[in-house]
Amino acid sequence: MSESNGYAVRTAGVWKIFQQEAEEVQAVRDVSLTIGRGEFTALAGPSGSGKTTLLNLIGGLTRPTRGEIWVAGSELGALSNRELAQLRLEQVGFVFQAYNLLPVLTALENAEFPMLLQGVPAAERSERIRELFDRTGMTGLEDRRPGKLSGGQQQRVAVVRAVASQPALVLADEPTANLDSHASEALLDMMAELNRELGVTFVFATHDGHVMERSRRLVRMVDGAIDSDETRS
């Protein structure tokens, strides 16, 4: 099951086919892709091109119809639901377009939630969150619940939540789609800095030109398949 650990993600001949009434929809078609550790990669393409589905497949939120996916050395198809949940907990961080913070928890509680599940001691949790909130300009907003935070602030909490548990991989689905250009820029700066300083691998699904410009690798998808794969210096 375990392959080389030189990459964060590897997919081989991955297909995802949905049945919509009588029609078969090929959301992802024969995608083979390797993303190295510490990469800052964007999956780009128009709506319906399959980038979100590919992100969900990589994150183990849904299973492929065909093909294999390795994340941090584990082939997802061989894992049970419990093992998949454990892999998400330990290896993957998610950032969603709709922020998806837990509404009954404060910003601080949301950010430290994966660490609570991991059993990270309180002192260490507090230390990591304090540092990340400081970096992201969220200090002072720890006790606010999501409803009392702006979209940009919520997304920053979501990013802190995704990276605080020190995953091998952060999957971000349209993270800037609901933010104005200023907030969007600040968020990208923050993620680039976390990528550079902590070595966290980021994979974005986006159709935001600005995110594509800031990415060091751009994988374009059309109709569920990879159309181009371009690495920049």
Partner: protein, 430 residues
Amino acid sequence: MKARPSMHLGVILMLALRNLRRNLRRTILTATAFIIGGALLTFAQAFGDGTHEQWIDSGVRTGSGHVAVEVPGFRVSRKIEDRLPGGTLRLVRTAVDSSAAADRVTDVFYRLTINGLATSASGARPAQVLGVDPTIEASLSPLDEQVVEGRYLKKDDRLAAYVGAGLVDALDLRLGSRLVVMAQDAHKEVAGQLVRVVGIFRSGIPGLDDSVIHVPIATAGEWLGTGSDVTNIGVMVDDSRAVPGLLRHLRRELGEPIGKGEAAVMGWREAMPSLHAAVLVDEWGAYLMLGILFVIVGFSIINTVLMSVLHRHREFGVLQALGLTPRQTGSVVLVEGLLQTVVCAILGVGVGLGLVAALSGGIDISEIAGGMEDMQVTGVAIDPVIVPMVTPVRVLYILGFMMLVGVVSSVYPAMRAATIDVTESMKFER
């Protein structure tokens, strides 16, 4: 770092508590339904148990006692020769005193019950003549309180009779009138006894008012040549739940006459089967009504919890994306339901017990029944003042039942939460 399952449990508990606290309106709505249901259940059960205890108490006072000692077959034959052997009363008294339930026994009474004829100048009517100890009977039977004219029998009365109002009317008697009671005596001869009406009672139950005559047991013994023999011995206890223990003890102590077929020891259920059946029917009727009530409460809980689950798909999707398994996600909903159930069940029962305590003086149901004071169940006159009764076992049953309803009501919403499509639940909606 591997997370320990117990930590997940802690997080699930924390999430459940937060959800309950921070969705206060929803929590209060569900809790209110459950608490009211629990309080109603507790009070209704206490009222039902109190009613049945009242029925039993009234029944055993008028009838056979909580435990009856008679000759086998007397209940059917009603013959004077089916008397208890001399010394049985003494045996019963000794057995009762040595019983583990001695402190629960309140009285031992005895009667000579004869089916005969009452005659006056105006005619004759069948009558049930009860030779009684006036002092004991006055302290036990409700009939002495139902006097409409005259008085009940006194200790030194001899040729006195306390007669039902229906029989008085039928024989055209009045207070002070004389009548003759006739029955077969110990020598199988027909014997008559002249007595004078000293009191007239009206219980409201035709079966009693039209046929029952109380006379002093000494007078009955002389009249029928039975001496101090009796046909019935009754033992009264302060709580009908003490009956099974007492029954076992008396059967053991009266082993000899029982073995010879000279005596039988019966509980009130056996001695008064129609009253027992009425209690059972009423009990099951109450269970049915309360069952329906709790099905409604259960569905209202399912509805509230399910609605909240349907609104929380995104939250459950996030929990799974962050590392909870589907089962653990369902556990969040289940734990919320369980927490709420435990607290509400205790509060509901508490409120119900408070209501019972507040009405411990009794509830006069004759007012509810439109001023109807003569109430009866299977021919037994019932005191219309019901005192609600609670026992620890009943409280445990109610708590257990409420927990069951709460758990069952939470399982389906929890299953729904565990089986969501994670990717669908987190889709961004414009």
